[in-house]
């Protein structure tokens, strides 16, 4: 990973790295340190007084079955979002790759959802599945299925997963498509000669070549599902019903900013910090290895 050739000197690199360091310290490390410190207290919302409770906030969290459940919810949600968005994107990318004409047009159209903010995506999907005015829920109702994600936790989860995956399909599609275009043409030809066996060959020959892209997208999508889906959940379900769509980040927000329980919220931030730290190291080690091939 290291460059063999490097420049000498230490003043210049320090100067170059300084802006980023400064911003990281001021807007990241200091606030993160504050969060750790605050997790040892139960403050009142206005910051007028606070009680030192040691690890009391963490004890409170761990004794809360809904907090423990939210780990599982987060895991299920993240896996579903990752799998759904990647499988659909891969399928579309393979299709587009087989086309000589028109692939660009499809790509241009498919790319749109990536540009839609999660909060806006939430609004669009809520609009389609709104139990009252939703077009999709209305037609589903005609088929005899009574759609009500407001009460049904499974439907709620399904809806936030689809809404969250939607924008990611575009993103993943771009990567898969580009990766497929870069696969040596002889390999594609070998796979394409016999149409009937296309998919089998695809899985045995082409997919392994895509594995770097697959792994990269796995990590990126899991991180996305962890954090950036906040807007989707906030607009569609607000974590309900019965906390069935409350993922960890949403809980930090709802306990801290709806419940005004800053102690618990800070403790949850610390838990997330640890979790993300671990994830980062895993990703880092992994990409580090991959750079070699």
């Amino acid at each position: 990973m290291e460059k063999r050739v490097t420049f000498k000197g230490w003043k210049l690199p320090l100067l170059l790295i300084f802006p980023q360091l400064l911003i990281s310290v001021v807007f990241f490390f200091y606030p993160a340190g504050q969060a750790i410190w605050q997790s040892l207290f139960i403050p009142d919302p206005f910051g007028l007084s606070s009680q030192f409770v040691g690890l009391g906030n963490f004890e409170f969290l761990l004794s809360d079955q809904y907090y423990r459940a939210s780990f599982l919810t987060t895991a299920i949600f993240s896996i579903l979002v990752t799998v759904v968005s990647m499988v659909v994107a891969l399928f579309l990318a393979v299709m587009a790759d087989r086309l000589i004409k028109g692939a660009g047009v499809y790509r241009t159209l498919l790319i749109w959802p990536y540009a839609v903010a999660p909060a806006v995506a939430g609004v669009l999907w809520l609009f389609m599945f709104n139990t009252r005015v939703g077009v999709v829920s209305w037609y589903v109702g005609l088929l005899g299925y009574d759609w009500n994600h407001v009460l049904n936790g499974g439907e709620a989860m399904g809806l936030v997963v689809v809404a969250s995956s939607w924008g990611r399909i575009s993103y993943n599609f771009l990567f898969f498509f580009a990766a497929l275009q870069a696969v040596p043409k002889s390999v594609i030809e070998a796979a394409a000669i016999d149409g009937a066996r296309f998919w089998r060959r695809f899985f045995t020959i082409v997919l392994p070549l895509l594995s770097p892209t697959v792994f990269f997208l796995l990590v990126v999508n899991i991180v996305y599902a962890f954090f950036e889906t906040f807007g989707v959940i906030h607009t569609i379900t607000s974590g309900g019903p019965q906390q069935s769509t409350t993922i960890l980040v949403y809980k930090v927000f709802s306990d801290g900013f709806v419940g005004q329980d800053l102690g618990s919220s800070a403790a949850q931030s610390v838990v997330l910090l640890v979790l993300v730290g671990a994830l980062t190291i895993v990703q880092f080690k992994f990409i580090e290895k991959r750079v070699h091939y």
């Binding site: 990281s24 504050q34 159209l109 909060a119 580009a178």
Partner: protein
């Protein structure tokens, strides 16, 4: 690369005639499904509230396009949508450019220099990877307030620049730049900054473009942070504006205007993404390898 493949594949077109049609059909279905939410939002933005509240709403656009968009653009909630669009633009561009600038130089320092504390600084910066502002939002808010940056573009932008994603990608890319180039530069006696400006930056063009797209979208999509720090309606951004159009109490949602605003909110990022899609993909795929 596309051209070479085209010529070699053209021979197979006839053989694949039927399956090609099938592929087109599947693609079209895929595009229709993926595109449907946006289409529906557009339709909803051209009809009346009455058309929407008595389901099923129509699936083809109505006649109230101008009326709804005018209402959204020029009246909005506290401020017209046009003001929020400008704020969002400044915020998104500021975040994208700011992050690219500081990341380029710091990645250059990390890759091309050996200096005391390098590993330490390196990990310090990379620890910031991926931790969103939501998780440390209260203390961050206090920092911004302490600097008197509430209701300012710098307050909107700076905390979101504090993440290492761009630094990370640039580092990955710099590592792939052949050592010979740096070697040659060093033999020629070129100063590091000359090498940086003459060689590294031009070579990073596509990566910069790709990151610009990603960071622009990232900045544009921010919701919770602008909501907290912009107490002056003149500073609101559009994504938070849409959420605010939903009634908080005993009122009803004005769907046509909300949907018109949603469409307006996606136009700038769509333009960025669509117009830069090729650069975007190339830049990312290259650096990722």
């Amino acid at each position: 690369m596309a051209q070479t493949r085209q010529s070699t594949q053209s021979g197979m077109v006839e053989k694949r005639g039927r399956s090609l049609w099938l592929t087109h059909v599947l693609m079209i279905i895929g595009v229709l499904v993926v595109f449907f939410p946006i289409w529906l939002a557009f339709v909803a933005s051209t009809v009346t509230q009455a058309d929407i509240v008595s389901p099923p709403m129509p699936l083809v656009p109505g006649e109230h396009f101008f009326e709804n968009y005018k209402k959204a653009l020029f009246s909005g909630i506290n401020v017209p949508v046009s003001t929020m669009l400008i704020n969002s633009l400044i915020m998104a561009i500021g975040i994208a450019l700011g992050k690219i600038a500081i990341s380029l130089v710091s990645a250059f320092a990390i890759v091309y220099f050996k200096f005391p504390g390098r590993t330490f600084f390196f990990w310090l910066i990379f620890l910031t990877l991926m931790l969103p502002v939501e998780v440390r939002i209260v203390p961050t808010y206090e920092v911004i307030a302490g600097f008197g940056m509430l209701n300012s573009y710098s307050g909107l932008i700076l905390p979101l620049v504090a993440s290492a994603t761009a630094t990370f990608l640039f580092r990955q890319f710099f590592l792939t730049i052949p050592d010979e180039l740096a070697e040659a530069a060093r033999v020629d006696g070129a100063r590091p900054m000359r090498f940086f400006i003459d060689i590294v930056i031009p070579m990073s063009r596509t990566n910069i473009a790709a990151l610009f797209v990603i960071l622009f979208i990232y900045g544009w999509n921010q919701y919770l942070w602008p909501l907290l720090i912009t107490t002056d309606p003149e500073m609101n951004t559009i994504v938070m504006g849409i959420k605010q159009m939903f009634p908080s109490g005993d009122d009803f949602a004005d769907w046509p205007v909300i949907m018109a605003t949603s469409i307006l909110a996606m136009i700038p990022p769509v333009i960025v993404v669509v117009s830069m899609q090729k650069l975007f993909v190339r830049g990312l795929v290259d650096s990722e390898k």
